[in-house]
Symmetry: C2
Subunit: 426 residues, 2 copies
């Protein structure tokens, strides 16, 4: 099977070296012989130690559509050029493998229809959570399952920052600087810390788990840039770990909530043990119960291993003249964030004087937000009040906060974090 | 696609009810319509609330081979009858799905060859770790990967017992009684606590991960029946959790070690967070890095969900006239347990008098077993010495213990437990 690779960055060059170094081993283990026939790069004249010069091409479109290729691997990234190339390859009847989350999150449904029409594969295991097999289990192992909820730690940069804040007691800025020093965060970290990267992956996971069309713009999104260290520490004392979660869940009335935000995860929850730059996706199914898939969410070689699994799968399918099944998707009916229900962690700075707690508690009661526990910490003239609520509608919590912010006794509304329940934990 | 189910126990009846209750939902989500055409049971005259009487059949062999069936699901269990039925179904050109670990561990290689010759699927996701998608990721996602090691918590009964011992500080007998009370352990728990169940799963995992023929009789096996509570507690104090692990790993010289035994897992390792009756399989690949797949390892409905995923996969393949790729397997060259190297935890009761530690330490030195740390605990006239060793050859550790047992100053050699390294943890 002849393979063309478009793009030779971090993942592309790792894939190329796997394909060249270990051709016989891959053939022996997988039962399919993969022949790398070309690598499209922006500047084909520039020598690359890992790629023989005769394989380099400056014309990605020609390589993606030539008769001599069976499987096209798109690792260029970005949306527009990548889309054009993938469409050209699918149009030419090639199976396509991509690791491009932005492309799949924005145009996955349309591309999947193109692939289905052409009778070829469009596979993208590497687009979510790097090396972790999550797309294939969702698509195949859980093909018949009624999924209730998917929660993922799908961004290694933010998980590293949050792990560092929790375990070393440092603030956001210092943890970010450490991530940058280690090459785990970009100089401009916005895409990671504001949750854009996680939102693209949330859209892909939601689409697969609930068989509907979700794009990244549909995803409600909060990042971790405003997260105070004091709340990370407080959460820890209360038995929780703060994680940036990508969540997709079906509400009882059938609407789909897809969102990215920091959340308190109980320390006994499997997601709480996902530390540093690792990723994990937790799936709750009606029959399967709770599943979690854990591993490296980024890095050239781990991500290339996921691409390689897809290339082998696509090659097998080309050989047998078939394609991975792609069940029809329906439009998503999205739930507004105000209608989502869940427990909350709320941190307030208030005047330390009589009557304040009663006034604050009354506001909660007025909005049907029931308090599960409260802790007070003195801060000189002020006090910090930390509340955990019972399950409440987010719109009611927001209304509560709006009133609290206007109270003269309340100096500052701090962190407002959703809490993942641990009711079903063993 | 017409489906026949052989056996209607815990998993079988859960599968039947999924197929009957949710036919339209499954068709919508998976793109394939599954029609349950028969359920073979020992006594077809006995009414079963979950199965319409006209679907019951007392003749499993006839049902497994009739022209009216596309996919045969074997959930009878045991080896001989199940083997006969699976062979008959494969011989009749049916795709077969089984959840029978004993059958696959004993005869998986021969059955896989039969299936390949017949050009049909033999799928067994449910045979290892219940609902957890592990067979498919190993077979497909990691088809091209060089796997270094697989370590699994694949028996929920023993993991529940070990979790209870560690977290509630009780002894083995009491933890076993609690498991029995909760229905998590059989009245005769031998198959679980002696590691037989885990050994069958270890053989299956080893065969898939390393593409070679391994049967359950090849697996070195130690159970947890002799595990003293004091060592579980000591391990915890040292920062470890004791788990019963199924391990398959390739040594540097290419030999394969497949074994089941209790082991100390660092508290920061993802496997340490697998509590109660949950299962998890940890995979270390050269390119992929560390992966872990976690979920419910048993129970009718979770296991049925894994069977259903396989049935859908098989049905898709029947529809497209293909079968899951089954790369050739080679014979396994197995490594004797004496040649396996690793770190050890050793617990000795010795006379509390001068010179004993020096004598004990000298025996370690004589056998090239290097001590990493030692802790001494007074016990009246005696003392307990707990050693952690550096990586050592198991044969050398055994020789050390044989000499120690003969020393007059050593009253008792207690637990000897392998230690999983945490060098690569973040």
């Amino acid at each position: 099977m002849r393979v063309a690779v478009l793009g030779c960055g971090n993942v592309g060059s790792a894939l190329v070296s796997l394909l060249l170094r270990d051709r016989d081993g891959i053939a022996e283990r997988s039962g399919v012989r993969l022949e790398l026939v070309g690598v499209a790069v922006a500047d084909a004249a520039r020598a690359r130690p890992e790629v023989p010069a005769e394989l380099l091409s400056g014309d990605a479109k020609a390589l993606a559509t030539t008769d001599d290729v069976d499987v096209v691997v798109e690792l260029i990234g970005g949306v527009d050029t990548a889309r054009e190339l993938v469409e050209a390859a699918l149009g030419a009847g090639k199976a396509v493998v991509t690791g491009n989350k932005a492309l799949v999150a924005a145009h996955g449904a349309a591309l999947a229809r193109m692939a289905a029409d052409a009778g070829v594969d469009l596979l993208y295991e590497a687009a979510v959570a790097g090396a972790i097999p999550i797309i294939r289990p969702l698509r195949e192992s859980l093909a018949g399952e009624r999924v209730r909820r998917v929660m993922g730690i799908v961004n290694g940069t933010t998980n590293f920052i949050l792990t560092t804040m929790a375990e070393e007691g440092v603030g956001y800025d210092q943890a970010l600087a450490e991530a940058q020093r280690l090459g785990l965060a970009e100089r401009d970290p916005t895409a990671d810390v504001a949750g854009h990267d996680a939102a693209a992956k949330a859209a892909i996971l939601a689409g697969l788990a609930f068989r509907c069309d979700v794009v990244d713009a549909d995803v409600y999104r909060e990042g971790i840039t405003d997260l105070p260290a004091v709340d990370v520490a407080f959460a820890r004392r209360l038995g929780y770990v703060v994680k940036l979660l990508a969540v997709a869940e079906r509400s009882p009335d059938g609407a789909l909530s897809v969102r990215v935000h920091p959340a308190l995860v109980p320390a006994s929850h499997p997601l709480a043990a996902v530390r540093g730059a690792f990723n994990a996706v937790f799936v709750e199914g009606e029959a399967s119960g709770e599943l979690m898939l854990y591993g490296r969410g980024a890095g050239g070689l781990p991500t290339a291993s996921a691409v390689l699994g897809d290339v082998i799968d696509a090659a097998h399918n080309v050989l047998s003249g078939t394609a991975a099944p792609a069940p029809a998707r329906s439009p998503a009916r999205l739930q507004p964030i105000e209608d989502v229900t869940g427990a909350f962690y709320l941190s307030l700075e208030v005047k330390d004087r009589p009557g304040v707690l009663a006034a604050v508690a009354a506001v909660f009661g007025d909005h049907q937000v029931s308090i599960r526990s409260m802790e007070q910490q003195g801060l000189g003239e002020e006090a910090r009040l930390v509340f955990l609520t019972h399950r409440a509608r987010e719109g009611d919590v927001r209304a509560t906060l709006a009133v609290l912010e206007a109270l003269s006794a309340v100096d500052h509304v701090g962190a407002v974090l959703r809490v993942v329940g641990d009711e079903e934990r063993p």
